[in-house]
Amino acid sequence: MPAVVVEHLAKSYEGNQAVEDVTFEVAEGEVFALLGPNGAGKTTVIEILEGFRRRERGRVEVLGYDPANHGTSRELREQMGVVLQELAVEPFLSVRQALTRNAGYYPNPRPVDEVLELVGLSEKSDDRVKSLSGGQQRRLDLGLGIVGNPRLLFLDEPTTGFDPSARRGAWEVVRALTGGGTTVVLTTHYMDEAEALADRVAVINAGHIVAQGAPGSLGGRDVGEASIRFRLSGTAGAPPLPVAARVSGGGAYEIKTGREVEVLAALTSWALREQVDVVGLTVERLTLEDVYLRLTGHAPDAGDPSGAAERE
């Protein structure tokens, strides 16, 4: 049984269509990332899944429950964890008090000491919440999200505002959880975060899912054109390049090709034969960010939405 099923979900606010037609599934144990610019509908979708907002149309199932059903909402909430964008803890409680209190809401909570360990706050456990640094408060938030030992965890931009090492730390926590079988649905602005954590991503733009798939193949980035870049030295007297290349300023060469193996073979065998040095050789495909910007229409050259159409 999938952990989350969303079919043709729609929601509008006072005539403005926030989510028009969203369909996706999240398998049990999967980490699923929802990517999209501000205002794309990410938060609306997440809040409908959490049971915080009501949908207008479509079918939604979360751990087998309809999140809009009042009769089962408590059962559902006992099995899900939520990490919100805002820090939301009473400032005068200690870290341990806050976690202990929330643990009491759930039938099978994770031991508080284990949570403290997981989020790296063991040494701060007796400190007041208000005395924590911003990063520590967000880690406490994460701790409150997992203290109920959830089957499904919602993370709304979990590392916004973290420094790089704190982000790595948060990723480790999420990986440790998913190792234990927890399903995670997260939203993020960071492509490296989606790439590091998610088994699957969906890009949402203007209320529609415009692409979904594994981060490595989203928008066809595993196939199609690659870009080969290099510089040359010691070319005096050598015959010209065996392949067509664009020369940019400073003597850098760039080749865009869909047949990078052949091009590389021709280039490198030519270089070896003619004893030319190929300096700084790189082969790059579209980054997830390139694909994302293209899909959401924010790329400088957003002229080619074909990748979006293929994947939909």
């Binding site: 606010y13 006072e14 005539g15 926030a18 509908g41 939520v82 919100l84 409680l93 809401y105 759930y106």
Partner: protein
């Protein structure tokens, strides 16, 4: 049974959170004691013709009992709820398995406990500091305090839904509260025939002060059961509860700057649709 324990635990953490905040504790509980000592020491020995020649202190002791209940159940509760809503605390509670009624019950019980502490402190200071006898109809006093606490808790819940943001919470609520206290005669007894008394008799604060006074102090020709005041307070409570039920929001009213809330209308729509 499980839910009773759950609610009791929640009350415990509400209390913990209240008493661990020294400024909050002093401003709420301390004020009724400090005000009583201030006015009691400066004017308590004077006699008032409005009170039929009675000592002013015998007016201030019931007055500050009423004040304590209203401060905890109305003023503090309103500010507290606005802050929690805008911080996202209410949203987090909504998304946890803690039932909404358990949270409401705990928040109200917390206000009730804080009220009770103040009532006891003021009674003791009045009795042993100024020689004001204990209330003559204790049962009536308890009924007045319970009805008053319930009404002002409902008023706190309702008012919190009318305050748009966290910054406005304390100023708006406190100014309204202290103006009402002034108009309702907390600081000096109002003659029943005065314009001020007639005006403030439409508002609940005056009735709370009068009801506590009637239940506490023996007066010739006045019943110690202030039914009329109880009815007016209860009516205000019912109206406020209806406002609260209609306008209640678990989500912050104010979009966070820099963090994309959806559309400008999202807050308003979410208010009504959020369950």
């Amino acid at each position: 049974m499980g839910d009773v324990v759950l609610t009791a635990r929640q009350v415990y953490y509400e209390q913990l959170n209240f008493w661990l905040n020294p400024i909050g504790a002093v401003f709420t509980v301390g004020f009724s004691v400090i005000f009583l000592l201030l006015v009691g020491s400066s004017a308590g020995h004077q006699r008032s013709s409005t009170l039929g020649g009675g000592l002013l202190i015998s007016y201030y002791v019931p007055g500050f009992i009423a004040y304590g209940v209203m401060a905890a159940c109305f003023n503090s509760l309103t500010i507290n709820l606005v802050v929690r809503r805008e911080m996202g605390l209410l949203k987090r509670v909504r998304l946890s398995p803690l039932p909404a009624w358990a949270m409401m019950a705990a928040v109200s019980a917390n206000a009730l406990i804080i009220s009770a502490v103040q009532v006891v402190l003021v009674l003791l200071i009045g009795r042993f500091g100024y020689g004001v006898p204990f209330p003559h109809n204790l049962l009536a006093l308890v009924v007045v305090l319970v009805v008053g606490a319930a009404s002002f808790t409902a008023l706190g819940l309702g008012t919190s839904t009318l305050v748009p943001n966290q910054e406005a919470g304390a100023p708006i609520t406190s100014v309204v509260f202290f103006v009402l206290l002034f108009l309702s005669g907390l600081w000096f007894p109002l003659a029943a025939s005065s314009g001020l008394a007639k005006f403030s008799s439409y508002l609940p604060v005056r009735h709370m002060i009068v009801a506590v006074y009637d239940a506490s102090i023996t007066q010739k020709g006045v019943s110690s059961w202030p039914w009329h005041d109880l009815v007016v307070m209860a009516a205000w409570g019912v109206v406020a509860a209806a406002v609260a039920a209609r306008r209640w929001s678990w989500a912050p009213r104010q979009a966070r700057s820099g963090r994309g809330r959806m559309l400008s209308g999202a807050g308003a729509a979410g208010r009504r649709r959020s369950q």
